[in-house]
C-alpha cells in the first residue's frame, strides 16, 4: 500500500481497439503461433528462455484495463509461466476485469506455442516474440555446440521501438482524395456468402493443418502464373464454392485478407500494425475457371496494395479515431457501436486468409527446427499460413464439424502432385 512506483501504461493502437469490444466465447480473438522442434521440449529450460525473452519485450508484461473512454495497457509485475498444453485451441485469454497477462506459453511434445490476445499485438509482433523465445531456448539447450560463435538473431530492434504505436507515427493528418475509398466501402457493404455448419460443442475450434513443401507450392502457383498468396486465396474461394448450396449461390464469396503495414511503412513495432482488405468472386452459375478467379484476386491485390491507397485508408481510420465526439463517447457505448459495426462488416465476409510469410531463424539453429505454424480463433472457417525453409503449413480453423472446404482445398493440392501431411486436433 505504500508502493509509490510510477506505473507505465499505453493507449491501444488503432487496430487493437476493436478486439476487446468484439471478443466473445465464440470468437476469442486469440491466435496461436507454434514452432515445432526436432526433439521434445524441456520445460525448465523453456521457462528460463521465457524469462530472458521477457526482458526485451516490455509490452508483453501488460494487462488490459478499461478506462472511462478507452481501453489501455498497463504494465504489470506478473511473470508468465510455461505450461504443458491442456487448453482447447485459442481458448479465451482476456476476461474483462481479471488482471492477467494477454498471452500464454505452452509446449506439447516437441512443439512450443504462444497464444496471444489480438489487442496486444498482431501476427508479426507475436512471431518476433516466438522467434526470440525459440532462439533463447535453443541457445540454452545447445549452447555448448556453438562453441564461441553464438548465432545471433539479427532483426532485434531496440526495446523502445517495439513499443511504438506505428499508426500514430505514420498518420499524416492530411485527408486524401476520398473517392476511390468510398467506392471500395460501398462495394464492401454487399452481403457475402456465409458458410454454414454444425457447431462443435463448447465453442471448440477444429484445427486441420496441412504441411507441405514450399518449393512445390511455389512451382504450382507459377504454373498458374501468379504468386503464392494470390493462388491460395483463389483456391480457397473455389473450395468454398464447392460446398455452397445451389440456392445460396446468388451471394459472392468474399475473403478478408490482413496486410502487414510494416512492408509499406517503416516500423519495428511489436504492436498491431495491419489492415484488412477484401477480395471476392461471384460464382453465379456453377461453372467456373480457376484461372478466372486468380485473375480477379490478383487484380484486387494490386489495386489495394499501393502505398497511396494504404496511406489514404490509414489517414481515414486515424481521423475517425481522433474525432473529438467519438473520443468522448463512454467506453461501454463505444463497445456497443464497435460490436454492431463489426457485425455489419462480418456480413460482407465469407472467410479470411492470412499469410504470415517466410519465417527465418539463424542458420545454426536450423537443424533443431522442423516447422512453424499459425492459427486463429474462428467464428467461421478461415485459413492462416506461414513457412519456414521448405515447410509451409496451411492451417484451417473452424467452429464447425464439417470438413468439406478443407477436403476440397487439400485434395486439389494433392491432385496437383504436392505431398500433403495433415495434422488435426480432431
Amino acid at each position: 500500500m505504500t508502493q509509490r512506483k510510477r506505473v507505465e501504461w499505453a493507449r491501444l493502437d488503432n487496430a487493437s481497439k476493436i478486439f476487446p469490444a468484439v471478443r466473445s466465447s465464440k470468437d476469442t480473438k486469440v491466435f496461436r503461433l507454434s514452432c515445432e522442434l526436432t526433439e521434445d521440449v524441456d520445460e525448465v529450460l523453456l521457462q528460463n528462455a521465457l524469462d530472458l525473452t521477457m526482458e526485451s519485450f516490455p509490452l508483453f508484461r501488460s494487462v488490459l484495463r478499461q478506462g472511462v473512454f478507452w481501453y489501455y495497457l498497463e504494465i504489470s509485475d506478473l511473470i508468465p509461466t510455461v505450461e504443458k498444453e491442456s487448453n482447447p485451441i485459442c481458448s479465451p485469454i482476456y476476461f474483462g476485469d481479471k488482471r492477467n497477462l494477454l498471452f500464454r506459453i505452452f509446449y506439447f511434445h516437441n512443439r512450443i506455442s504462444i497464444e496471444i490476445f489480438h489487442a496486444l499485438t498482431d501476427g508479426i509482433g507475436a512471431l518476433t516474440f516466438l522467434q526470440s523465445l525459440v532462439y533463447e531456448y535453443l541457445l540454452l539447450k545447445h549452447g555448448e555446440e556453438f562453441s564461441g560463435a553464438m548465432p545471433t538473431l539479427d532483426y532485434r530492434s531496440p526495446v523502445s521501438s517495439k513499443m511504438d504505436d506505428s499508426f500514430e507515427k505514420h498518420f499524416t493528418g492530411i485527408k486524401g482524395p476520398g473517392q476511390s475509398i468510398n467506392k471500395q466501402t460501398r462495394k464492401g457493404s454487399e452481403k457475402a456468402y456465409h458458410i454454414k455448419g454444425v457447431k462443435l460443442d463448447e465453442n471448440r475450434t477444429k484445427l486441420i493443418e496441412g504441411s507441405m513443401s514450399v518449393s512445390s507450392l511455389l512451382d504450382l502457383s507459377h504454373k498458374y502464373n501468379t504468386t503464392l498468396t494470390v493462388f491460395l486465396a483463389s483456391l480457397l474461394l473455389c473450395s468454398i464454392h464447392e460446398e455452397m448450396a445451389l440456392k445460396r449461390r446468388k451471394y459472392p464469396v468474399v475473403l478478408s485478407v490482413p496486410v502487414d503495414l510494416r512492408h509499406f511503412f517503416r516500423s519495428a513495432t511489436s504492436r498491431n500494425f495491419f489492415f484488412t482488405m477484401k477480395v471476392g468472386y461471384h460464382f453465379k452459375n456453377g461453372a467456373y475457371d480457376l484461372n478466372d478467379v486468380i485473375d480477379t484476386v490478383s487484380k484486387a491485390f494490386t489495386d489495394n496494395l499501393t502505398e497511396e491507397y494504404l496511406r489514404n485508408r490509414l489517414d481515414r481510420l486515424m481521423s475517425l479515431e481522433r474525432n473529438p465526439f467519438i473520443r468522448l463517447i463512454p467506453l461501454p457505448l463505444k463497445d456497443l457501436f464497435l460490436r454492431i459495426a463489426s457485425k455489419i462488416k462480418d456480413g460482407g465476409i465469407s472467410s479470411s486468409i492470412s499469410n504470415l510469410g517466410k519465417i527465418s531463424m539463424p542458420a545454426d539453429l536450423e537443424p533443431f527446427i522442423r516447422q512453424f505454424s499459425v492459427c486463429v480463433s474462428a467464428p467461421r472457417p478461415q485459413v492462416t499460413m506461414g513457412s519456414y525453409k521448405d515447410r509451409a503449413v496451411i492451417s484451417f480453423t473452424s467452429p464447425f464439424r464439417e470438413t468439406d472446404i478443407q477436403r476440397a482445398f487439400f485434395r486439389f493440392l494433392a491432385k496437383e502432385g504436392i505431398e500433403v501431411e495433415i495434422s488435426s486436433n480432431d
Partner: protein, 227 residues
C-alpha cells in the same frame, strides 16, 4: 505415417479415420523417412469440461419455483397484503446483487462500489414500495456509505492491493459519502445523526486520500480518463 487413399494425403498421429473425408484408413502406410515423432499425436485430447454454472442453474430453478408456488398459494388463499410480490422483489434484489458480484468478482474494489450503488437504489425502492417511512434515507444509505469506506480500507490492507488498484474506487466511495449532506440540507432525513456521521467520516477519508496519495490519484485519473 498414415495415408488416406481417397484424399491422397498423409496423416500425422494415430487416427482411425481420415480427418478430411471420414473414411477409415487402411493399415499403416509407411512413408519413407517417417520417424517415430510423426506417429505421436500432434495435439492433446482435451476432455469436455464439466457442465458449468450448474449451481447457478439450480438457483434459478429454485427461484422460479418459489415465485410460481407463492402466486399459486396467494390465488387460492387470498390475503390483504400482496406478499408474493414482495417475494419477487426480494428474489430480484438478491439476484441483482449476486450477478454484480459474479460479474465483477475479479476486481474487489469495483465490486464494493457496485454493491454500494445497488444497495442505495434497492433501499430507496423498498422504502417506497413499503409506504415511504424514510428508513432508507435515515439509516440505510448513510450506514452503507460508512461501511463501504471501512470495507474498502480493510480489503486494501488485507489483500495488499497496490494504491493504483483501489485509489479511484476509494475516491468514489468518499464522494458518495458526501451525498447524505443533501439529506440534511433538504430536510429529507428525519433522523439526522447517521447522515452527519457519514459526511464527517467521508471528509476525513477524502482528506487522507488526497494528502497521502494525491499524486497517485492524478496519475490514475489521467490514465483512466484519457480521451
Amino acid at each position: 505415417m498414415q495415408y488416406c487413399n481417397y484424399c491422397k494425403i498423409y496423416i500425422r498421429g494415430k487416427k482411425n479415420k481420415c480427418v478430411l473425408c471420414g473414411n477409415s484408413i487402411p493399415a499403416a502406410h509407411n512413408k519413407e523417412g517417417s520417424s517415430e515423432d510423426e506417429s505421436k499425436e500432434a495435439y492433446p485430447a482435451i476432455p469436455p469440461s464439466f457442465q458449468r454454472h450448474l449451481a447457478l442453474r439450480i438457483m434459478v430453478f429454485i427461484s422460479l419455483t418459489v415465485v410460481v408456488i407463492s402466486f399459486t398459494a396467494y390465488l387460492m388463499f387470498p390475503t390483504d397484503i400482496n406478499w408474493p410480490l414482495l417475494i419477487v422483489y426480494g428474489l430480484a434484489s438478491t439476484w441483482l446483487s449476486l450477478l454484480a458480484i459474479v460479474k465483477k468478482r475479479h476486481n474487489i474494489p469495483k465490486t464494493i462500489i457496485w454493491q454500494v450503488v445497488i444497495m442505495t437504489l434497492l433501499s430507496l425502492f423498498w422504502d417506497w414500495q413499503t409506504g415511504w417511512m424514510g428508513w432508507s434515507v435515515d439509516y440505510v444509505i448513510p450506514i452503507t456509505y460508512v461501511a463501504a469506506m471501512l470495507v474498502m480500507y480493510v480489503t486494501a490492507r488485507i489483500m495488499r492491493l497496490s494504491v493504483r488498484d483501489y485509489i479511484t474506487y476509494a475516491l468514489l466511495d468518499g464522494i458518495f459519502g458526501i451525498i447524505p449532506v443533501a439529506f440534511i440540507l433538504f430536510d429529507w432525513a428525519r433522523v439526522t445523526f447517521p447522515s452527519i456521521i457519514c459526511a464527517a467520516s467521508s471528509l476525513v477519508f477524502l482528506a487522507a486520500i488526497f494528502i497521502f496519495h494525491g499524486e497517485s490519484i492524478k496519475a490514475e485519473l489521467n490514465k483512466r480518463m484519457h480521451i
